[in-house]
């Protein structure tokens, strides 16, 4: 009985509420239609403060137009649906629409203009009617000869280059430079010697990047040093390559190293070959080489991706001595886990100089260290100024596109 009464009460309540809800929706809907029907003769307020200027730090053929949103965009009558950007070659000429943006956007880049030619612009706010801003211009597009947004990069490059040149010259004059030991590079002799004793080859992987990657170039310079030691120890070096251009360069590097070591006859071009341009086909190929040839030492130096652990773990299972080095931060933990020695980040770039022990190359490592000191000082200063809300200092280091 009680349940029946409750059910009837709910039914009554529903009958009272439903028409009320429908009525509210109808009123709101009609109001919206009323505001936008042709009968509504109220124009949306036009955008104001329109500015047009040559887009800075670009190659040219680009003009930026900014404006302040219409008072009816997001507030006021809130009827503005978007903006049309109109362009003409003179203030009195015919304006044509060159682009549109939705409501809430107050900037547009016109990239269909010619350099050194005047253009005038106006912006049109639109709902079912539209109203136009004042005409601005003429304004001309042109390409710049210097990107002011990159001044901070330029200053840093000049300072760092000066540091490198200073320390290289100091080293040339005979100044003793201390470079902390890098265990991974100290182990190169041991690793090559072990391979010679065991009569097994050495595997050198240049990474999976192209010749335009600095990591690949750094790896090639280390390959030159390692190949020379291999030639001196009369061992065998295998270099399966991922990229044909890298392969060609690697062949030249190794050939020159064998020549320097006085063993050009021992050089075999067939030991530096192209394996695959496919990531996991390459990984499978290298794994096969490790297990079949039973390589005594594996070098993984360069840029690596997801295949890093597949390679390093297989080498670990095969019982090879493994020396890795990469600037791919995400792959470092895998190498640290699976390899005997890992060159972390900057150590990888210092390796060639460290192996050669040439004073002028060691000078560049010293410059790297002083560069780091400078950066740490800037980070401390930046932290301090940001804490006291002195943003000018932090903004000094903002780099533009």
């Amino acid at each position: 009985m009680s349940t029946q009464i409750q059910s009837e009460e709910k039914g009554c309540l529903r009958w009272r509420i439903t028409p009320l809800v429908v009525l509210i929706f109808l009123v709101a809907f009609c109001g919206r239609i009323w505001a936008q029907t042709p009968g509504d003769t109220l124009l949306p307020s036009p955008p104001s403060g329109v500015t047009a200027f040559d887009t800075p730090n670009d190659a040219g053929r680009n003009i930026t137009i900014n404006w302040e949103l219409s008072p009816d965009d997001g507030k006021g009558r809130n009827t503005v649906m978007g903006y049309d950007i109109l362009r003409s070659e003179s203030r009195e000429g015919e304006f044509v629409v060159v682009g549109s943006v939705v409501a809430g956007i107050s900037t547009f880049q016109d990239d269909k203009v010619e350099n050194h030619k005047g253009y005038c612009y106006k912006v049109r706010a639109k709902d079912h009617l539209s109203s136009e801003s004042e005409v601005v211009g003429p304004v001309q597009a042109s390409g710049e000869w210097y990107n002011t947004g990159r001044t901070v990069v330029l200053i840093f490059v000049v300072l760092f280059t000066s540091l490198v040149i200073f320390f290289v010259n100091s080293a040339k004059r005979g100044k003793k430079l201390y470079v902390r030991p890098i265990p991974g590079m100290d182990a190169v002799d041991e690793a090559v010697g072990r391979a010679t004793e065991m009569g097994r080859p050495i595997l050198y992987i240049l990474g999976l990047s192209t010749i335009s990657d600095v990591a690949t170039i750094a790896s090639l310079t280390i390959l030159g040093r390692v190949a020379k030691k291999v030639a001196e120890f009369q061992s065998k070096l295998l270099v399966p390559c991922y990229d044909p251009i890298v392969m060609t360069v690697a062949q030249e590097v190794v050939k020159n190293s064998y020549l320097d070591a006085g063993r050009p006859d021992a050089y075999d071009e067939g030991n530096i070959w192209f394996l695959s341009r496919s990531q996991f086909a390459y990984a499978a190929g290298v794994n096969g080489i490790m297990l079949r040839e039973r390589t005594a030492t594996n070098f993984y130096l360069g840029m690596f991706y997801a295949e890093s652990l597949v390679l390093a773990e297989t080498g670990n299972i095969a019982g090879s001595i493994q020396i890795a080095g990469t600037d791919a931060v995400a792959q470092l933990p895998f190498f640290i886990t699976s390899c005997d020695y890992t060159l972390i980040g900057e150590e990888f770039y210092a390796a060639s100089a460290y192996l050669s022990r040439e004073p002028k190359l060691l000078g560049s490592i010293k410059a790297q260290d002083w560069g780091k000191v400078g950066l740490v000082a800037l980070i401390i200063l930046g932290g301090f100024f940001a804490s006291i809300h002195f943003d000018t200092f932090v903004n000094l280091f903002t780099v533009g596109h």
Partner: protein, 208 residues
């Protein structure tokens, strides 16, 4: 002369590309695009050298029946089949033999190789997380917190673990990553400078 000419080319190209970075003008952009185009053109020609090298390497293994010559045979046959499918039986459109082999043979094989990573991660994690020293124990604890904090059940077990996990990733982890990143950046510039200025020339041979 054999060394001077490559060094001069390296210096000029390096300096031009470094200056180009600071010049947004159309001319500068065209030089940059031209360099990229030339890189692609050279890449296209060198690919022929690459394939030549691959074929020579594997035919040599086959000829002398060295260890694993069977794999060389498979490699050469696969190369030939893909080349014939691409050259004589239509371009890279779906339904054509080339794409059929790519989708139904090459892709699954690559996915299989990739899936091996799961087993390698397990074996590597087992070695890395053995608590043999104080540092290794810290690493183990941090790993447990991060792993448990990243899955929904972690917060159900102990609600603060998600925040602790996020803090570990956002602060100690990020600090280490950025420190390595700064070192890498300096190392890259230093290496580039050494090669452009001819200080590092081991790639030409003749170094100590």
């Amino acid at each position: 002369m054999r060394r001077q000419i490559p060094l001069a080319i390296t210096f000029i190209c390096g300096v031009v590309m470094a200056i180009q970075f600071f010049i947004p003008h159309q001319i500068s952009q065209e030089i940059y695009r031209g360099a990229l185009d030339w890189q692609m053109i050279i890449g296209g020609f060198v690919l022929v050298l690459g394939i030549g090298s691959l074929v020579t390497h594997h035919t040599g293994k086959l000829k002398h029946q060295r260890v694993g010559w069977g794999y060389s045979l498979v490699t050469l046959l696969s190369l030939a089949v893909m080349a014939i499918a691409g050259l004589f039986f239509g371009e890279m459109a779906s339904g054509k033999p080339f794409m059929q082999i790519f989708i139904y043979a090459q892709n699954p094989i690559q996915a299989t190789m990739f899936s091996l990573l799961a087993f390698f991660i397990a074996s590597a994690a087992y070695r890395a997380f053995r608590a043999r020293s104080f540092i290794a124990t810290l690493l183990l604890l941090a790993a447990i917190i991060v792993m448990v904090g990243r899955v929904p059940i972690g917060a159900k077990i102990w609600s603060p673990i998600r925040d602790i996990s996020t803090w570990l990733l956002d602060y100690p982890n990020m600090v280490a990553k950025r420190a390595i990143g700064l070192g890498v950046g300096l190392g890259m510039i230093s290496t580039a400078l050494k090669i452009i200025l001819g200080i590092e020339r081991s790639y030409l041979g003749g170094g100590k």
